[in-house]
Structure formats: C-alpha cells, structure tokens
C-alpha cells in the first residue's frame, strides 16, 4: 500500500512473536502520518491493541513487525517513545524497506567489502548501476582511523560511535526512542558486560543481559526441530558472537522475498554493505518496564547473513554464510576450575572482531581464574591468517586480585594485532582462527630492578662492561645478578651510558611495513620477549636506517649522509644508532636503571 493511501482511522493488524517462535497478530489503528520523518522517509503513527502491548506499550525487539491494513503490508513497526503511556508506535513504510532490498549487494562478500559505498538500485534511482568500488572496505565507517600498529580498541569504539550516533539518535528533545537494536548478551560477567556496554551503547546497540541460546549449524539432530526459513513476523538474530559467549541483535522479520528478507524497519549500524551472521530465533517473554519494554530471546538456528544495513531496514540473504572467527581459549594452572576450555565464534568484522575477542577472552579468564591472591599469567596466542600463515603473540600480566579482565585484554597485544590485521591500508586480512593458551601461576613473578652497579667503572676497549643488577622479587630476599654487556673496541675513549630496560618495554628496530605481509611479520616482533632485560647504549657517530622492509642497524656517518635526501619525502628514515643486547630474566622486570662506563684506550 502506498503512503498516500494510508489514512487516519484505518484499522489493521501486525505480526510479531510474543513468546516462542510463532508470530501472533495484534491489532493496529492508524493515527496519522509524519512526513519526511527521516530523509526521504515518512513514518506512520499507529496505536497497537493487544493485551500484552497494553501493558508493555512500546517494545524493543518488535522492530520489523509487519503492519497490515486491509490485508496489505504498509510497513514495519520500528520506533517508540520513551516513557510512553499509550501503546503508540512508529511504522517505517514498506516502500522504503523494499528500496533497501533492491539495492545491489556484491556477489562475493569477502572480508573487506563491508561498508563499501554502493550506488542505489537502478529501480529506485532510475540510473544505471555503477560498478562496485574496487577498493571496497578501505575507508568504510568501521575501519579504525589511525596507525594500525597503534590500534586502540577504546578509540576504535569512539570512532564508530561518532559516525553512527548522529544517524541513529532521534532529534534532541523529541523523546523518540533511538532506533537502537537490542543485543542479547549471554555468558558475560558484570565487568565484561560493563565493558561491552561502554563500547557498543554509543554505536546504537542496546545491551541486554540474557541467555545466549544454543544456536548451532543445522545438523541431523536438529533437523526437523527448528524452522527452516524465516517467516514474516518471526524472530531474526544478528549474531555478533556465539558459543560460550554470545551476543545477538534481536529483531523481527518484516517480509521475506525469495531468499532474502527485510527486517527491523531501522538500521543496526547503518553501515551499508555488511557481512554478519544471522539466525532464526525465539522469544522468551516481553519484559515490560516504564521506560521501554523489550523482548528477551535467543537464537535457535543460524541461517543467512546480514548483507545490507540501511536507514529503513536491514537486509538478510539466506543463501549466504558470513565469516566468523573461531576462538579457542585454554587455561592451565587454574586448579579446580570447572571450565578451562572456552570456544566461541566472533563475527568477522573490523570493529567487532578485535573488540569482542578481547572481551570474550577477558571474560573467560576472569571467570576461570578469579583469585584474590597474587597471580602471573602468560598468554600465547596463535592468530591464523588466510594467505599469511600463523603469527604468535605474547601477552602477560602480574598482579594481585583479579588482574585479568576485559579491559586488560582490550589493551593486549592480541587485540592490537587483530585490530591491525583487520584495519590497515592494504587489505582487511581474513583471520581464520585464534587459539589462546593461558598459563596461570598464583604468585607474582616480577623482579623489581632496584639498582645497577658497574663492577669496574672503567674498562679496556674490547672488554665487556660487567654490571651487577640488584633484583627484588615481589616476595623474598633481594638477589644480585651480573651481566656482561659487550662493548666494541671502536668505542675506546668514550663514556657509555648503558640503559637497562625490561624487554617488554624495549622496542625492536623495525622497518615501516610496506604491505600486508610486512605488517603481519611486524606484529609479533615489535618488542623483545617479556621475560628479558635489554641493555642498550648509543653508538656515537653511527646511524641506523629503515626503509621498505629493510633495517640497517649500524651505518657510518658517510652512509647516513648519502641515504638522506632533501628532494624526496619517500626516503629512508635515518636516526641515531643504538646497540641492544638481550638477557633472559626469570620473571618480568619492573623498572629501569642506567650506568655509565668509561672505555679506556688500550695503549699497550
């Protein structure tokens, strides 16, 4: 039915799931039409009539429920008002939703196509479709804007929110409920729930602590027990994570057209082309509150993928399978813990994947290892990247009383590495799996570097500088250790200041990555091993340089002079050279020290 044909006073019905999986009818009466509610989009105001809705009034999760007048679909239940005292809802016209359905979607939604700008459909715009952007995925709204090697999960969430908030938020003072999508969260503890709320609430998702369901791929065992297809008015879940930890955006199917469907009546992220897994779901109950009521439910059967996320609807293609990242977490050392193996899948998304992975791992670690005593943990993560092999990332921590959590993992090197793989100038890498092995010991294995002493303040050229380190364990007697720092004979006559730094704080000299493969190689090698101490000193008159994947660590001044250029900006970086020597340490060093040694000329 066309917008102009919908008149005040017209009566009809809607379909939605109040409980279980089967849609039920509720009556509606058209109040009026708001013209140009959104750019190029009107909104019908309707009054709903149903015993449950008389109590719940406006219900999140009903978004997408089809509304019929005279047996014809006029649109989808999509908006409500906060603290509504009447069951009044806003309905997105079906025409706008069908326009979204007709918009072209690339045949192959490989990682990297999400968010690519695409032209309007020829039918809606009247123009011949243009070719999809070949650089799809580069520059979309979910990509982290910043240096991938400095990926920051919190900053990424702020960037995404900054883009989506103006689109999803209602006009100020209107009282209109934002077009947020309720996300049913399962398996998260309070701290992780708080973390994910901080990240996702500003992006238009409303977090609801709920169950995660048992949605699995269809097997012979489940065949016949679950619906095979979506139905108008049925439940659709967008699965951001599933498994031992789950996050599902819950809404209602508006209309199924062949192998596709439109739902929600409003955007989820408004991210355009997407590739997120979806599932048929069920509703447990409608929880009524004075503020805003909502459906609580869970997925039942994975099916299809969200392929388009637009102003008026989301579009799901039932023939597609969205990529996910399987994550396995094994925890050793948490004696007596009932669950030490965690498995879950994360949507393969530039923003969601690194954040949810860190969230889920942090949540699992906290649940498994929560302890108020001292603890040291070491995590070795293997990230499998399609076409680039596996890389191993080391994370660790030591402290007292629940040191691990989602906020800790958000700053972990694993999270940063995943962020870089998915957000870089070259391509969105395809992460095929993440395996994290965590070893926990209930003591704090740190060594405070309390002091450093030169055993001989002057050394002959060519001899090493012997430095005695005073190391204080977290508990126990202080200990000493002597390291021999080799010093080249060419530094005769110089005074060297030897700086002693924990390995995890000392950066390796690395070239600027020039391509995706360089980036992957760089990610696990940015720092020295955690349980080391690095002695370093400046090499006077010598230089170092990096360029195009190459590192020159010690250059004479003449070579540094030749490498530098005044006419090209794409040239080697030339800087002062430092010698770095690594010494293993049994524990993580805390603190830095430095000593100065004089190198004597040997005249004999």
């Amino acid at each position: 039915m066309r917008v102009d044909d919908v008149k005040p006073g017209m009566k009809g019905y809607g379909l939605t799931v109040f409980s279980g999986m089967k849609p039920q009818r509720f009556d509606v009466e058209v109040i009026s039409t708001l013209h140009n509610f959104r750019p190029g989009q009107d909104l019908f105001l309707v009054r709903t009539k149903h015993p449950r809705l008389d109590i719940a009034r406006t219900v999140a999760g009903m978004s997408g429920s089809p509304i019929y007048i005279d047996g014809k679909m006029i649109g989808a239940y999509a908006y409500g008002w906060l603290f509504n005292v009447e069951p009044i809802a806003g309905v997105t016209p079906i025409q706008n939703m069908l326009d979204d359905l007709r918009r072209p979607v690339p045949k192959v939604l490989a990682p990297g196509t999400a968010g690519s700008p695409l032209p309007n459909s020829s039918r809606s715009s009247g123009r011949k479709p243009r070719r999809p952007n070949r650089r799809a995925g580069i520059g979309n709204i979910k990509r982290f804007r910043g240096d991938p090697l400095k990926y920051d999960a919190d900053l990424h969430a702020q960037q995404v929110a900054a883009h989506t908030r103006p689109i999803l938020s209602p006009p100020a003072g209107s009282g209109l409920r934002p077009a947020t999508t309720d996300v049913m969260v399962g398996g998260l503890g309070p701290a992780a729930f708080q973390q994910v709320t901080e990240w996702l609430a500003p992006t238009g998702l409303n977090l609801v602590q709920a169950g995660g369901g048992k949605a699995k791929k269809k097997t012979a065992a489940t065949a016949g027990t679950s619906p095979l297809r979506y139905v108008d008015g049925g439940v659709v879940n967008v699965q951001l994570a599933r498994g031992d930890i789950s996050m599902n955006g819950l809404g209602t199917v508006t209309h199924v057209v062949g192998d596709k469907l439109i739902a929600f009546g409003h955007p989820m992220f408004n991210g355009g082309i997407e590739n997120l897994p979806t599932a048929i779901g069920r509703v447990h109950w409608i929880l009524s509150t004075q503020n805003r009521s909502f459906k609580i439910g869970e997925p039942v059967q994975p099916l299809g993928a969200l392929v388009n996320d637009r102003q008026a609807s989301i579009v799901v293609d039932m023939n597609r399978v969205a990529p996910t990242i399987p994550v396995e977490l094994n925890i050793r050392g948490a004696h007596g813990a009932p669950k030490t193996n965690w498995r879950f899948e994360i949507a393969h998304d530039q923003f969601l994947a690194p954040n949810f992975t860190s969230l889920a791992i942090g949540n699992a670690l906290k649940a498994t290892t929560a302890e108020r005593n001292d603890m040291t943990w070491r995590a070795k993560s293997t990230v499998s990247i399609a076409g680039a092999g596996d890389i191993e990332i080391e994370d660790f921590g030591a402290g007292a009383g629940n040191p691990i959590g989602s906020s800790t993992m958000a700053r972990a090197r694993l999270t940063r590495a995943m962020g870089a793989i998915l957000n870089n100038p070259w391509k969105m890498g395809r992460i095929t799996g993440v395996r994290v092995d965590v070893r926990v010991v209930h003591r704090r294995e740190t060594l405070a570097l309390r002091g450093a002493q030169l055993l001989s303040p002057e050394i002959d050229a060519g001899n090493p500088a012997r430095v005695r380190l005073l190391l204080q364990p977290h508990y126990g007697e202080a200990m000493t250790r002597v390291i021999e720092v080799p010093v080249p004979a060419s530094l005769a006559g110089r005074r060297l200041t030897i700086k002693l730094t924990p390995g995890y704080r000392a950066r390796r000299l690395l070239p600027t990555p020039q391509n995706f493969d360089d980036l992957v190689q760089t990610l696990p090698n940015q720092h020295f091993p955690g349980e080391t101490i690095v002695a370093s000193y400046a090499l006077p008159d010598e230089a170092a340089a990096t360029f195009a994947g190459q590192v020159a660590k010690r250059l004479p001044p003449g070579a540094a002079d030749a490498l530098q250029t005044t006419t090209q900006s794409l040239a080697p970086r030339v800087f002062a050279a430092r010698q770095k020597i690594v010494f293993p340490s049994r524990g993580y060093i805390v603190g830095e020290q430095s000593v100065t040694v004089k190198v004597r000329n040997v005249l004999r």
Binding site: L149, P513, Q526, D541, D561, R573
Partner: protein
C-alpha cells in the same frame, strides 16, 4: 674648567641642500678576479680555478633516475654504465641515453661495484653484507640472488678486484673487517681492524691494498693477510675514498677524509599511516661537512692538497694525467687540484652530491645524488659555456660606467641590472654583447650581473672583470648628539647619583658623540660649533684646517667661561662629492651648561644636635649636602629645608644628633656639591 650640562635638549635639524641635476658620490668599482668572487653565480659549462681563471668547462647530459635517491657507485661495462643506488638496492643501467633497471637486490643500497673474474659484475650492499655476482649481459631487470654472505658483518661498503690473484676484497662493517673472496665464493678475513667500518678500498699496482676506515679515519696499507700499516690517522670521521696513482703517472695515493655535521634523532616507531617517511620541511639532519684531500707519495710523505670547510667530499677519481678529481657532498660540484694546489671547479650541478666521477677515457661521466642523475660528459668548451656572476650589489641605485675585462682569448660580455636582490622580470634584458671594453648600457639600478660567453674562442680564459659605478648621492642625516663619555654615559648622567653615592671627578673634557645615517656610505666631514644662549654667533670648536671624519670628539672646555651653551654638529659629504653636489645636515644640542665654581657654605651652626646653614651655587642647583664626624668612616646625607635639591640656594636645618656626640665639642665635616660635581668642604664644632 668644569662642565655641567642639562640634557633636556631639543634637537633642531637644519638641512642645507645643494641642488644638482645629477647627485653622485665617488666612483667605485666591482672587481672580480678570484675564485670566491667569480663563483656564486651560474657556472654552466665553465670551470673556475682558485687562482681566479674562468675557462670553458664540461658539457654534459642529464638522465634523471627518479626511482632512486642516492648513487653509491658506478661501473662502465660493455652493456652500459651501471649505477648502484639506494634506497631500494637497485642497479640501474644507462645506455644510449636511457636508463633501465639492470637488477634488483633485496637490500637498502648497493654501495659498490667491480668488474671481476673475467668480466662479471660483483656488487656489495647493505644491510646483509651480501655480495652479488652476475654477468653484465645477464642483468636484465631481475632480482639478483646473493653470491656470498660475509660472516660477522652487516654491510659491504667497498669492493676492489685483484686481477693478478683473481680475488676480490670487500670492506665491511660494523666490525671493521676486510674479506678476501675467491672466484668460488670462499670468503676469509683478510684484515680485522679495531674500527667499526672499513668504508673505502683501492688496490695498488704492487698489490698493496689501501683501506680507509670510519670511526677514527685511518688509512691503512695492507700488504698481506693481517699485515697492515696505518699510513695516516686523520683528524676526521672517515676516509671516504682512495685513489692510487699509477707509477707511470708518478705513483702515490690520494685519500679523502671528511668531518660530518648534524645530529641524528632517536628512532621513531614503525608506522603504517602511509605518510611520507621523511619530512622535507625540516632541514636535513646531515649538513655540509668539512673535506680534506691528502696525497701520500711512495715514500709516505703527506701533502694536503685540498681543504674545504664548506663541504665534504664523497667521490674521488683520477684524470688522464693522474691528478685528483673530487665530487662534493653538499653543493654538487666537482673539483680538480693540480700539483701547484690550484683548485678548479670543473662542474656545478643542481644535485646535492656528486657521488661518482670518471673523467677519463672516451666516455667520461659523473653521477649525482639527491636527486639521482647520470651525466655523460659530451665535450668541453665552446659556445654553450656561459659564466654568470653572482648578483653584485651597489648598495643603492647606481649608474654604471665602463666595464673592462682581462682575458686570454676573445670573449663576449653582457650585463643586466635591476632593483631586486634576485633577478626577475623587472630586471633589464641582457645587454648587447660587448667584444671589447665599453660603457655598460644597462640602466641605472642597485643590482647588476655580468656574464661571459665563450662563443668566440672556446679556449679563452677570463681572469679579471672591473665594472665602474657611481651611486646616487644620498644626504647623510644626523640623528642624535649626546654629551658624556659615550652615548650611554650621557643617559646615565641624566639623573643625579643617589645621596651618599660616589660622584664623578670633575673634568673639563667633554665627550661629544653623534649618530648619522649615511645610506650611500660616502665619507663624511664633521664640523662642531658652540655659542652661548641668546647669541647669534657660532664659534668653531675645531680648527678650520682640521678634517674630522669620526662621530665623536673630546671637547676641552677649560678656557670657556661659565654659562649656558648650545652645540651644533654639521655633517657634509663634500669629501666624496664635488662642491656643487655635496649635501650637508646639521643638528643642534641645546642647554649645555659650563660650570667651574663649587657651591659656598655659609651661616653654619651646630647646636644641640641641629645643623643649620646655607649652600649657594653660581649657576646650577645644589645637588647634595652631607656630613660626617671628623675621622668618620662615612658621610650622612641631609636634606634641604624644602626637601628638594632644586635651587642654586638651599638652606638646611637638620637634626643630626645621631651623628654628633651628645656631649658636644665634636668637630663635624660638611660637604656641598653642585650638579657638575664641584665640591666645597667646611668644618663646624658642635655645641650643647
């Protein structure tokens, strides 16, 4: 006689102008006759020697290689000349006026090339201390695989092939080793120094391998494995290049040693933001250094051939006569030096560095860095040679006279002029060529340039240019006249010293200082006059036959009567201009007082601790009154009755009971000063 003065002067200026159609100062001359005076302009196709001779120089082509930023070595081969470059370790080939990629390597730079083992090309680079080997014809753009990887090293800086023993030497860093590699790729340490880097190699006809280090800049002569002698310990950072002179040309060794300037920063974090890796807005961290070229004869005697504190040297080769040719590291020039130490600028390129130069044989060339270009020398001398002077500044608008030059052979000279420091469209066009000395036809202007063309005699040598000019005569203006020991002293003397402070000893010598703005900088004559206030007649301070040209004068006022005077300073440029064209300017300083009489103390009494009396001066105000017990260590100031020292007569009535003994009978010293520092002293006895 003593002087006191009030500097509340009103400076009155009186200009005395003499009109003239053409205002002029003395004739001056631009003279160009040395290396420094001839260089600085455009040296396209000319050479300049340190004895001030400009000749037609090299003509050369220009093949730009934009995919590289630095050239490290060149090697002529049968298939073209190879250029070893950075920063991508690419070897380019230049052949028949075009460049192409001959080979790529997985290095940052190929630093060295040599023909070895029957015609193969051996190349070394960094990082990785790898040697690459290939037949020149097989270098068709592909990636070379390492032939030898030298142990315990990270860089190869130089290679030298020993054809007699069929072995190649490789100089490496950062452990300062020289390797010997045979044709099968077997490498062994030939020399292990204590320096971090060996950066240059050259092999003598007698098999002696010369090696230069970076670190303390040592030049080694290596006669056998492990047997090295230090030929020279330079006061420098490296021995950048070495060239061995064939015995047929006299033998010996040339070596270049450099000092580098600039400091380097700490390493940045790797970044993938795809921004430029270096910022050209910042000055390069390496600036022009200092270069030295030394010669060592076969007996080991050293001779400094070339010293340049404005640039370092980055390349060295020998010309057909066995004389050294060096490429510079900051201005992109090529120098040659003869046995008499006459330095000649052979080439001046637009690049920062000349990294390789070979001016011998049938195909001379040189290669530059930053930006990288290959220049094939196409000839020497001829009509394309043009020397253009730097911009000559007359200081203000000048009228140009005759231009004369001295040359061996015929030249054509042109001039142009303008009023901006950099030539632009507002300058006049180049004048018609002068074939002999002639009056310059370029219009009057502040700036002028001269250029010479070798289109009449390719072998001509320009030795001296003189260009006469006369600038406009601008009037000198006096801006300030001050009295005191100096200009700053006069300001200090504007306030009376604090009570109790020291006062200057009175002197009849008055230091006069004045400031003058003299735009054309011609010589000025000054005349000084004085007169009493109210008089119309000026009296000269200087004798009429005295020509005073400095801006200060010590005026002895001893013979002057006391009173108020005005001073006048006249400035005239009559010494540099004819009388009818001279300008003058005057400045008057008012209210200069000459005072030679101290104040008089009278009516003194000291009763009950109160001191009363009167101080009276002839011309000026009484400046200070102070008292002290006889034999006391210090004087105590007292104020006049009205509280202010502002009159020539001041009475005082002060309670000084804290100074005098309460029992009375003490003797007190009273002193009074006027503003000129004249002083009088009286005594008074205290009474109860």
């Amino acid at each position: 006689m003593k002087l006191r003065y009030a500097l509340i002067a009103i400076l009155l200026a009186a200009g005395v102008a003499q009109s003239s159609d053409v205002d002029a100062v003395g004739t001056r001359t631009f003279v160009l006759d040395s290396l420094d005076s001839f260089k600085g302009g455009d040296l396209e196709g000319v050479t300049i020697s340190s004895d001030g001779a400009v000749s037609a120089g090299y003509h050369y082509g220009n093949i730009e290689i934009p995919d590289a930023t630095s050239t490290w070595a060149t090697l002529p081969t049968a298939t073209g000349t190879l250029l070893a470059t950075g920063p991508k370790g690419v070897i380019f080939r230049v052949h028949e006026g075009k460049s192409e990629v001959a080979a790529e390597t997985e290095t940052m730079a190929i630093t060295s090339l040599a023909t070895a083992f029957g015609g193969d090309v051996v190349a070394g680079g960094f990082p990785g201390a790898k040697l690459f080997r290939s037949a020149p014809g097989a270098m068709t753009g592909g990636t070379l695989k390492p032939w030898v990887e030298l142990p315990d090293s990270e860089d190869v800086w130089a290679v030298a092939y020993d054809a007699k023993r069929k072995q190649i030497f490789a100089a490496t860093g950062p452990n300062g080793k020289v390797f010997r590699v045979d044709g099968k790729g077997k490498a062994e340490v030939y020399f292990d120094s204590e320096e971090p880097h060996i950066v240059s190699l050259a092999l003598g006809e007698d098999g002696v391998l010369y090696a230069g280090s970076s670190g303390t800049a040592l030049l080694y002569a290596i006669r056998a494995p492990g047997r090295a002698r230090v030929v020279r310990d330079f006061d420098a950072k490296d021995v950048k290049a070495i060239a061995v002179v064939p015995q047929a040309q006299g033998g010996g060794v040339y070596a270049v040693a450099n000092v580098y300037k600039g400091s380097l920063k700490t390493p940045p974090r790797p970044s993938t933001t795809l921004t430029p890796t270096v910022s050209l807005r910042r000055p390069p961290t390496t600036r022009a250094g200092k270069g030295r070229l030394m010669y060592f004869d076969d007996a080991g005697r050293a001779e400094l051939m070339l010293k340049d504190d404005k640039t370092h040297f980055v390349s060295l080769s020998l010309d057909d006569k066995g004389l050294p040719v060096v490429g510079t590291g900051s201005e992109g020039q090529i120098f040659s030096v003869d046995k008499n130490h006459v330095k000649t600028i052979l080439v001046d390129t637009d690049s920062r560095q000349v990294s390789s130069v070979s001016l011998i044989g049938k195909s001379p060339y040189f290669a530059s860095s930053d930006p990288v270009a290959f220049h094939a020398v196409t000839g020497r001398g001829g009509t394309d040679a043009v020397w253009t002077s730097k911009v000559l500044d007359a200081g203000m608008r000048a009228h140009f006279g005759r231009l004369q030059w001295r040359s061996d052979g015929a030249l054509e000279i042109q001039t142009r002029s303008g009023n901006t420091a950099k030539p632009n469209d507002n300058w006049s066009p180049w004048s018609a060529a002068m074939k002999t000395s002639a009056v310059v036809t370029s219009p009057s202007a502040r700036y002028v340039q001269v250029r010479a063309r070798w289109n009449r005699d390719a072998n001509a040598v320009l030795r001296r240019i003189e260009l006469a000019f006369v600038t406009d005569n601008a009037r000198a203006l006096l801006s300030e006249v001050t009295v005191g020991k100096s200009s700053s002293d006069s300001k200090k003397n504007k306030t009376v010293p604090a009570s109790g402070g020291p006062l200057d000893k009175p002197s009849s010598k008055v230091k006069l200082n004045w400031k003058v703005e003299n735009p054309d900088k011609d010589t000025l004559r000054y005349r000084l006059f004085y007169r009493t206030i109210g008089s119309n007649r000026w009296y000269a301070i200087l004798p009429s036959d005295t020509t005073h040209t400095t801006t200060s004068y010590s005026w002895d006022t001893e013979d002057l009567p006391e009173g108020r005077y005005e001073l006048r300073v006249d400035a005239s440029d009559e010494l540099a201009n004819p009388p009818d064209r001279a300008w003058s300017h005057s400045l008057i300083l008012q209210q200069v007082l000459v005072d030679n009489t101290p104040p008089v103390l009278s009516a003194l009494s000291l009763v009950g601790g109160r001191l009363k009396g009167e101080a009276k001066d002839g011309l000026g105000p009484v400046a200070r009154i102070e008292v002290a017990p006889v034999g006391g260590a210090r004087f105590f100031p007292i104020f006049p009755s009205d509280g202010v020292f502002d009159d020539a007569v001041e009475t005082f009535d002060a309670d000084i009971s804290g100074v005098v003994p309460p029992t009375g009978g003490g003797l007190l010293v009273i002193r009074a000063y006027d503003e000129a520092g004249n002083r009088t002293t009286r005594h008074v006895t205290s009474k109860r």
